[in-house]
Symmetry: C2
Subunit: 338 residues, 2 copies
């Protein structure tokens, strides 16, 4: 059972072949399911038995060298500490593992083309690129990087290689929740203008809320951090005293706004309701707990991997849109306006 997995070198295909009394090419073709190979059933069983006996697994470096396919995908993020991206990574990792791929992690740098080249020689077959901090042109320029790139969670006009979740449905859920509670005067926290991700979410929300008959105003956060949310929240509270609800396109912004409310002595949800996009454990433990719209980020990671794999096998699929419906998670931060 325990096949002495010490420091000894792993078995090679040659050893399997010897064990089964055949040529390595037979083993290779058999294991890769080459249709042009014909083997007798007996030989086939001998080979498979040898594979099992030796606990053989192909050396990926050798395979990568020969085929220039390394069985790895890079997940590149602006920073590792985002609670949202970590869920996307988890999903990507799971799916990749199922497909025999590994995930290597990377950080966004100014020269993504160079990064792609590095990956290429490392046997990394493609990149999953998350992060809204790049300009549209920068993203489009990646169309012919050294390895294929799939942009995650962002729809860039002119690029098909993306995987996204449906934010429209999520924003509508949020807008309708506020309407149902009776809010008619809402502030949305917009991200910085150059971040198309939040721009889209804010537009979609605004459209729906307006259609619902609400007055929608806007404050702009300088980035998507909690600090930016805090600052935006403070501006919001001093300028829009009559607003009864706030919509934040990301969780940390909402947490920041909540902190601003606490500091200003504004009671949530009595004087101000807060609702955010994206759910995470964190949302359960603020005070009051945050009402959010949960999005299928794990599935997004998986979809991105699937998309990349499709591209790698020569296809040019439509942008992948994760259809798992968003879910409204009502906690304590929303209530009827006073």
């Amino acid at each position: 059972m325990t096949t002495d997995r010490r420091l000894a070198k792993p078995p090679t295909m040659r050893q399997v072949a010897q064990h089964a009394g055949v040529d390595v090419s037979v083993v290779s073709r058999l294991l890769s399911g080459d249709p042009r190979l014909s083997v007798s059933e007996a030989t086939k069983q001998r080979v498979l038995a040898a594979v099992r006996l030796l606990d053989y697994r192909p050396n990926l470096a050798a395979r990568a060298l020969r085929t220039s396919r390394g069985g790895m995908a890079a997940f590149v993020v602006p920073e590792f500490t985002s609670p949202v991206y970590s869920r996307v990574i988890a999903g990507a990792h799971r799916r990749a593992t199922e497909e025999g791929y590994s995930i290597v992690v990377g950080e966004v740098t100014e020269d993504l083309g160079r990064l792609a080249q590095d990956y290429r020689v490392r046997g990394v077959d493609g990149m999953l690129l998350a992060g809204a901090t790049l300009s549209d042109e920068a993203v489009r320029a990646l169309g012919d990087a050294a390895v294929p790139v799939v942009v995650v969670n962002r729809l860039v006009p002119g690029t098909r290689r993306t995987a996204v979740v449906d934010y429209t449905g999520a924003t509508e859920l949020a807008a309708d929740h506020l309407r149902d509670l009776g809010h008619r005067d809402v502030v949305v926290v917009a991200g910085p203008r150059h971040l198309d991700t939040t721009r889209d979410r804010v537009q979609a929300f605004t459209r729906r809320a307006t259609a619902n008959g609400a007055r929608v105003r806007q404050v702009t956060a300088r980035d998507l951090s909690g600090d930016a949310g805090l600052a935006a929240g403070q501006r919001l509270l001093s300028r829009n005293r009559d607003a009864t609800a706030v919509f934040a396109p990301t969780l940390m912004l909402a947490v920041g706004v909540l902190a601003a409310a606490h500091r200003a002595g504004v009671s949530v949800p009595d004087e101000l309701s807060i609702i955010a996009l994206h759910d995470a454990e964190l949302a359960k433990f603020t005070w009051p707990p945050l009402t959010t719209v949960s999005l299928p980020m794990t599935e997004l990671g998986a979809a991105a991997v699937d998309h990349l794999l499709a591209v790698l096998s020569g296809a040019d699929p439509e942008p992948s849109i994760v259809t798992t419906p968003p879910e409204l998670v009502v906690r304590g931060s929303t209530g009827p306006p006073r």
Copy 2:
């Protein structure tokens, strides 16, 4: 300047050699700094010029095949969504990148030996293993896995291959802060008994707080999640009404206790002070913001990589202890007892 980095195959060492009019072996030895090579300065410059011109980088798959060193390290965690581990990963990634290594991520499975074998054939040279959920024996058994394993953030008796931060100093900082505020009756939230990580922290805190003259009692959380902290907090509030302060060995436990206090209408810090180990953005945005002791988790990641690299180069270093001093971050969750 832009050397057409399209889909074309990257330049090989052979091309560099041809360009410089020398044998590939010269290029190889020159680039790897082989001391047994002697080259004229002129040749050397020609080779280096060719390298730059072609923007050559060695194919890692080929190198891995020959040397069985793939230039990759795996960071294996129990789950990706921990805000603490993500900082460790960030540190590991930075350091690894500096050393020309890549980080692949993995999830803890029951059969870590098998995982190590998979990594071996993938060209992953070693594992950084985080996560306290494994038994001591399981960890010790990894001593002779297919690739070397460095255990992160955990001191297992009988293993030298670990990198840790100094929790003792951190717990003393916390205990002394509570003493300075005048607390004499403290509850510590212990993690589950089998988690030696939190056990050590709890013991160290208890020792110091007791020495400081405080009465120290204990509640046990079933794991390290916010939910577990909430449950423990509720038990704590019903059983130890006279305690004036709580020490939590991890951030999420503290967040859970804080939530319990809110739900019970107990005011923090007036009726109950809360202090936690580990700082993260999250701590700034709870209400009140959490007083914490910040630990050098980024440095820990870097130290773990350094340790692994040392092991890979044949050394057998002492357990690495990150000496960057912990820092007390006083926010709003601690104050004098009423």
